[in-house]
């Protein structure tokens, strides 16, 4: 028998602020090409000298992970697993600029030390004194889903009973100027909300989203994670097969899915994947979230948070509903994400009676 995997706590820092009891009630839809996260106060969590030295990605990771642990009433874990598409960009750019601008002279190690992709996972382990399994995934838009699948396998195989899993990505200047240059990100000056997107590229965001997973459910458990599936590439005409074969493997039909969470980001070229996906679920409520946090390689972690929230509350806030279908009882929620037609993922959640 496999052990079940429950989401018992969530933490997040992003453009909307931090995770809270009613995270979708008072929202501001983003419309800027680059939308920074609203940084909380870190002084309760991190010593002042370290706050100055740490990049925002590390700080957001520490904050969101602690929030998730607090909500789940967990203080120690058997695994810390993170995902990040671009890693610790601020430090990485800083060190690279120093190397290039000063002709490899007068360099200091701090930004190099903090530039490695596993810095956030390592810093969380350091502050928790956690000597257990510690992995970091860096695979574009499936960075977080890779971490989540690993977490699920750790729990299923009884290697771990309590797991902290999360995604972190930060915006840094030069990298995003280059992304604008190739129209991956909308141009400066564009003011377009997700549903009104007309220019090439997407609105980007940044943030950290963490989950405290446990084999035991509690009164405040959000949902159960059943399965995660990842595929590196897919033609639009293959989406239907990708979804139906995934559901079949999980002994479900399309009709069993109560609602879907989609990763639409306003990309004129690639949102067709989501449109195709949604044709399979025309009679179910469809939920979107990137209008709140922006695109990033780990934005889909916030999609998981949204799915977990609706399963627990059995309501779909108007601010995140894509279509007009009224919900009935929510039992299974399916999350679909891809970016630029690559790195597709499906994540299946089930409602938990507590």
């Amino acid at each position: 028998m496999k052990n079940p995997c429950y989401i018992n706590g969530i933490g997040a820092v992003n453009a909307q602020g931090i995770w809270n009891d009613d995270p979708f009630a008072h929202i501001t839809e983003i419309s800027n090409p680059l939308t920074m996260a609203m940084q909380p106060s870190y002084k309760e969590l991190i010593p002042p000298a370290m706050i100055r030295r740490m990049s925002k990605g590390i700080k957001m990771g520490i904050f969101a992970s602690q929030q998730a642990l607090d909500e789940a009433a967990m203080d120690q874990v058997d695994a810390i697993i993170t995902g990040t598409g671009l890693g610790c960009l601020e430090d990485s750019e800083k060190f690279l600029k120093n190397v290039l601008d000063n002709d490899e002279q007068f360099l200091t190690p701090t930004s190099f030390i903090q530039s490695t992709h596993n810095t956030v996972g390592a810093q969380i382990a350091l502050r928790l004194g956690c000597k257990s399994y510690n992995f970091t995934y860096v695979n574009g838009a499936t960075s977080f889903e890779s971490a989540l699948l690993d977490a699920l396998m750790q729990i299923e195989s009884k290697e771990a009973n309590q797991v902290l899993v999360g995604g972190i990505d930060e915006i840094a200047g030069r990298t995003f100027a280059l992304k604008q240059l190739v129209h991956e990100v909308k141009a400066d000056g564009a003011v377009e909300k997700l549903k009104d997107s007309q220019s090439p590229g997407v609105n980007f965001g940044e943030g950290g989203t963490f989950f405290a997973l446990n084999t035991e459910k509690r009164e405040n458990t959000y949902a159960q994670i059943l399965e995660v599936s990842i595929l590196n590439k897919l033609a639009t005409e293959e989406v239907v097969d990708f979804v139906t074969s995934f559901l079949t493997r999980n002994q479900l039909t399309l009709a069993d899915v109560s609602a879907v969470v989609i990763g639409n980001n306003g990309d004129l070229k690639y949102d067709i994947y989501y449109t195709t996906f949604c044709t399979l679920f025309a009679n179910q409520p469809q939920i979107f979230y990137k209008h709140l946090v922006g695109q990033s390689d780990v934005a889909s972690a916030f999609g998981l948070a949204a799915a977990a929230f609706v399963l627990k509350k059995q309501i779909i806030p108007k601010t995140i509903q894509w279509n007009a279908i009224k919900l009935s009882e929510l039992k299974y929620v399916l999350i679909y994400n891809q970016y630029l037609g690559k790195d597709h993922s499906l994540t299946l959640l089930r409602h938990v009676e507590t």
Partner: protein
């Protein structure tokens, strides 16, 4: 799966050879691949030695027969060369969809070699724009997957210098959980000015040939490499009558939780990783015939790892060596190439020497193997440790 997960293929490019056979030949003959940096300009050229692969990006592009407008960076190119070899060695037909096949790659620098070259040049050179997206670490894996014709599960791990060990571990778990039938696992990292200068600021680069486990060691030689293994399920091995090169019988990952870059003096993380690997393998320390140590030749690593080895093995530490004096420290790829070397030790009943060793360390009585040793090798333990306290151990067993 009582012996562990079957390894049915392997491929490697490193400073001591562009094939498995070339690497074995260099290892046997104590030929290191350590030189000055030739492939790019750096002010550190006269100050450090590296394990560099003497193929330019253009030469690799030609070898791989890539279109001229390809957007692969050095990390991806090295990876494609090694992954292709692994597939050929396992006699896998990538065109047929009979088996659920995946790729778990790993890297620490991703496309840094190109980024640092063109960082300020993109605005005025539209023909370079194709490289902008290649900076991202995961893109190197996408490129490798595309090159070998893989459509399926692809992911990338980045846990600094233990990355490839963790990729191998994840691959094994994917097979054991029944999610994949076959998985290509390993890592790739190219040398770059970025990492060279980074390690230089930490003052852990040696200005001469590195000397693992020597009292007078002065630091590491950086290197570049790529290596991949093919892991296959027992069902495939049975059905296809596959030749098994070795088994991955145990693995463990633990965190030192001591410091972002330094290892704890008693090697707590390393100790825990080895313990976990033994538990999983159902083996005891006395079953190990050879330890392929992490042995970077930094003062800190070798001291910490030495203490951890003594904690695990007691007074009876088996024959051990670090092969980093041959290849340099190849970061995310290190555990991949050392997995290949561990398998070669099993296949050939041979233990490779720890080059450049002269003076035992003062802190303990640990003497690495300094000459090529022919003896029966049934189980090899390989360690890899990285920044962020990341400690990984793999145990390979004879097929």
């Amino acid at each position: 799966m009582q012996n562990g997960v079957a390894i049915t293929g392997m491929g490697i490019v490193s400073a001591i050879g562009n094939t498995v056979a070339e690497n074995l030949n260099s290892l046997r003959n104590a030929q290191n691949g350590i030189t000055q940096v030739d492939n790019f300009d750096t002010s550190l050229r006269d100050k450090v030695l590296v394990g560099e692969i003497k193929l330019s990006n253009d030469q690799m592009i030609e070898k791989l027969q890539l279109p001229v407008d390809n957007s692969m960076t050095r990390t991806g190119l090295l990876g494609a060369l090694a992954a292709k070899q692994a597939i050929v060695s396992a006699q896998i037909d990538m065109v047929s969809n009979n088996y659920r096949t995946g790729l778990v790659s790993s890297t620490s620098v991703g496309g840094m070699d190109i980024t640092e070259k063109y960082f300020y040049a993109y605005e005025n050179n539209p023909e370079l724009h194709r490289y902008i997206a290649s900076h991202d670490a995961g893109v190197s894996s996408q490129h490798i997957a595309d090159y070998i014709g893989l459509k399926g599960f692809v992911t990338t791990i980045s846990t600094a210098c233990s990355s490839a060990a963790n990729a191998i571990m994840l691959g094994a778990q994917l097979i054991k959980s029944g999610r994949l039938d076959r998985v290509i696992v390993g890592g790739t990292d190219a040398l770059s000015k970025f990492t060279l200068n980074g390690f230089n600021t930490l003052m852990i680069l040696s200005d001469t040939y590195c000397r693992p486990f020597d009292q007078n060691r002065k630091g590491l030689n950086l290197g570049e490499a790529a290596a991949y293994l093919i892991l296959e399920s027992d069902e495939i091995v049975l059905k296809e009558n596959k030749k098994v090169l070795a088994y991955l019988s145990g693995y463990g990952n633990a965190n030192d939780a001591f410091h972002q870059t330094a290892s704890s003096e008693n090697g707590e993380g390393a100790y825990l990783a080895m313990k976990k690997a033994f538990n999983l393998a159902g083996l005891s320390p006395r079953d190990i015939d050879y330890v392929n140590a992490h042995g970077t030749a930094t003062p800190n690593n070798d001291l910490s790892e030495g203490h951890a080895l003594i904690r695990v093995f007691g007074e009876q530490v088996p024959a051990f060596s670090s092969t980093k004096a041959y290849t340099g420290h190849t970061l995310a790829a290190a555990a991949g190439i050392e997995a290949v070397y561990s398998i070669l030790a099993l296949q050939n009943d041979v233990i490779f020497p720890n080059l450049n060793f002269e003076t035992p360390m003062g802190e303990f009585q640990l003497l690495p193997q300094t000459r090529l040793l022919h003896q029966s090798v049934n189980h090899v333990l390989s360690n890899s440790f990285g920044f962020g306290g990341n400690c990984s151990t793999l145990i390979f067993s004879k097929a």
